[in-house]
Symmetry: C2
Subunit: 608 residues, 2 copies
Amino acid sequence: MLLKRWLIGNPLKTTQAKHERLSKTIALAIFSSNAISSVAYGTEEILLVLVLAGTAAIAWSIPVSFAILFLVLVLTISYRQIIHEYPEGGGAYVVAKTNLGEKPALVAAAALMIDYVLTVAVSIAAGVAAITSAMPDLFVHREALGLLAIVFIVIMNLRGVRESGTFFAIPTYFAMGALGLLVIVGTFHTLFAPPPSPFTSSPEPSGKAAESLTLFLILRSFAAGCSTVTGMEVISNGVKSFRPPESTNAAITMAWMSIILAFLFMGISWMAFFHHIIPKSEETVVSQLARLTFGTGPLYYAIQFGTMILLILAANSAFAGFPHLASILAKDGFMPHQMATFGDRLVFSNGIIVLGFFAGLLLVVFEGNTHALIPLYAIGVFISFTLSQAGMVKRWLTKRGAHWRKKLAVNGVGACTTGIASLIIASTKFLQGAWIVFLLIAFLIVMFQGIRSHYKAVAEQIALDRRGARPPLPQRNIVLIPIGGVNRAVIRAIDFARSRPGDIRAVFVETDPEESAKVKILWAQWGCGIHLVVLSSPYRSILGSLIEYIEEILEKDQNTWVTVVIPEIVPARWWQNILHNQRALMLKAALLFKERVVLTDVPFHLRR
Amino acid sequence: MLLKRWLIGNPLKTTQAKHERLSKTIALAIFSSNAISSVAYGTEEILLVLVLAGTAAIAWSIPVSFAILFLVLVLTISYRQIIHEYPEGGGAYVVAKTNLGEKPALVAAAALMIDYVLTVAVSIAAGVAAITSAMPDLFVHREALGLLAIVFIVIMNLRGVRESGTFFAIPTYFAMGALGLLVIVGTFHTLFAPPPSPFTSSPEPSGKAAESLTLFLILRSFAAGCSTVTGMEVISNGVKSFRPPESTNAAITMAWMSIILAFLFMGISWMAFFHHIIPKSEETVVSQLARLTFGTGPLYYAIQFGTMILLILAANSAFAGFPHLASILAKDGFMPHQMATFGDRLVFSNGIIVLGFFAGLLLVVFEGNTHALIPLYAIGVFISFTLSQAGMVKRWLTKRGAHWRKKLAVNGVGACTTGIASLIIASTKFLQGAWIVFLLIAFLIVMFQGIRSHYKAVAEQIALDRRGARPPLPQRNIVLIPIGGVNRAVIRAIDFARSRPGDIRAVFVETDPEESAKVKILWAQWGCGIHLVVLSSPYRSILGSLIEYIEEILEKDQNTWVTVVIPEIVPARWWQNILHNQRALMLKAALLFKERVVLTDVPFHLRR
């Protein structure tokens, strides 16, 4: 308990919840790190596909980057509309549920959940890659470093939203500043200094084309680049976390986020193209660019360190979104109720722990390799993008209202664009791992429905009769006190039982007639006139005889409860429990499924 | 449960206990395998020490073997007296306790417990060595084979005494027959066929003397050979298991056991000496003798297989003795009470499982190596031998009775002989591992005393007042029913509470005023006039508010119990528990250490 307090701080009152709202500056740090950090691997993933067709093919990275830029633009405008329309938080699940119905909503929810887990895993893996690019000695420890980072983030999040906000804002802005400096200085270089070897005269020295440059390859590189826009939806899920006016503040933050993302991504893509950067397995593209621009000096290390921080904070943004989604699902009965309860620190503790666990598992299974995880990524996000845009289209068509045609057009373009991108990603990445995601989505939907049908069954079973009829329930109550001897613990149980009137009986199971005679004598003195029932035990099973006796009573009198009052000796120290028969526990296990039997422990606490 | 029934059979009545008694034939198989199996390693251990002084030194194996033979004789006569004097079972613990007092008794008990575990470990290791001598390919798997054998014996023993007796008798007699055949045929060879190279002309071709032949070395070889007589005490511990007249039957069985042991041991020692057998690490001495006598044919394999069976059955004999000793100790309060309870099959299940666990642990730690375990062995047995003989000497001096002088002389010789042997073993084996045994004995004694002092403390704390004064206990009882809503489970709990008169209150913790209003309306209809207390919850902690309310009641009225009746929904399937808040469990944990608070679950069983 003390450790818990020290790690996650003191509990907060409900009335304090309002004060936990985020300012735009801190919200930008928390919610945009996911989207912006994608620049650390977006360009690299595009190049990794194109380079399969030889180094000349990397020229295609520029048009592909523009296609991604177009996506960013469309998503920004579309999501700003969602933010205004859903000030309570308009995640894909909510939008799909209110406009398209339950099935599409569950698909969106499943896709989002998977993507939150992948966001953590991919970001942590890429963040560790940023560090191992600068310090190759750490490469062998990448899994352990990744797990350590996840544990760190989980603890930070259990401490509460605002505290993690303050804690993460400074490093986020430092990281954005470092990458911004790289792009500004680097682009400045490309404009005023002539390139060392201009692209047109490049003789393709070592570029062996493994594949020819087909449309499919270009689409694959586009699909890989789509990982850049992952995380753009995060703000729309968390509108409620903003200070009022929530929607306006969220929309402004969204615009800022997109501008920073577009600027960094296009800058890095341009520089990579200009300098003929070829992706290497042991060093990231950003690391190569930083070395080219600043040399391996303090500025280089600042950029690598900043990239790592940004990526680790991106993982953090999933920790704001996932528990929120889980709690919405829990309220609708699709996730366990526990997910809907606030933890001590006004955050959804259970969701945080579940997310941390699965992300860690994924990291271990994929050996901390970013490129192995990427094919699984993006597809989930794009499914949810498409579903929420489609939901908005349906909404404008049904609801109409002011400027509905303009709004319909915006979300219509959004739905088409993200739909086409989804198809491209699904078709080009299917065999590389996207099939796992489809399987998982199906599995999660079955799980959601299973959970809800269980809750429905429970609700039906515990529902009150509409006509006000009470179920027939026993009116008498026979109280049994099983005793193994006469001592203070037993007397305490007797006194407890006697504190309310009723039919009270002590029960002693005889295994040895001598012992039994002794108990009878003591009972005469201490039993307060309570009837002592002595049972014989042919099988030496005290438990068995007792249960037989209880069953007899239940059968004879269908109109009675049997309350079993157990005098239980509770040791002063937990390990002393191994020195005591766990009779109470065994009795409980044996009687748990008997109707009309209720057990009561009367603890007698030992002091030493 | 079904698996348990299939593995260990059906439970038996107490009255069936008498029929579980053993005939002499079966008792000999169960109790003597421990002592007799020692011939598989006894001679080998003697030779292993002597050979350090060169091959010529092995001539000393004959006088050393005669010293061991003398020990067998002395022990047989002494223990027959113990058997007659203690028909209830006269283990070293019982003899030492009744004659020498508590401290020596605990030393004997600790020594015996350690030796039971070592018997299992050494016998299994040697049994596996017999098989790997014949099939060298299995050598790498010796640890796994040993563990498998232990698991097998544990299951057999959990099935009950007589069944394991019947199960083990046939192979035991087969094994004794095979070894007997080896000794008879082998000795016949040595008498009528001249030896291939007579001892007197042996030129010591390859024997390099690592040490010189000192008295210390000869004593060490004697100490190593003492492992032969381990297990001779087993019958005296288990007199109660024999058919009546118990003592006479046990004494006869003891004599037969000693004759077989002496015959096999002296035969093997003689043959080994005659054939100049030198112990090898990869093949046992018995295996070498069997190859010499019968060649590597079916008879050789029968002997190796028989030896293995005998050794594995020796381990089995410890499974009869250890739980018995543990139960005697438990009755005296030196071991947990659970050790004293009969299992389903009239055997001491807990003791069997504990023994199997520790023997397996030892086998793994010592990598299944017999020679590494031997130095730990014997010392414990000889300490208990000495203590029980000394106890008998004290007994005759105090009690006297018919022929007491003769009996005193017999046990006096026994005490001196085993005492001297103990000193020899302790001094020669101390640094080789015997110190571990002394440490463990000390540890076990501390544990025994700690357990008893705990039980004493418990007894004192729960003891009734001698003057008949009852401790002042509360007379009123306030019944609280915490509810989260109104449903059938809650109504069931209300009806249970109402079945006895008293001050009954339902408690609802308000987290949302709307919800609270609904509950109040439903309560008016369904509450049966029971007072509904509505608590506010500033920290959103339903548990916290409830506990605060209970504490308030306890403080205000020092003369009342608080009974908390919890309406608990019990899912139809165990995994559905993860879909329910474990409020009852948390409430219990929070209230367990509050005086005057008693919890009662009223289960409401879901059917689907």
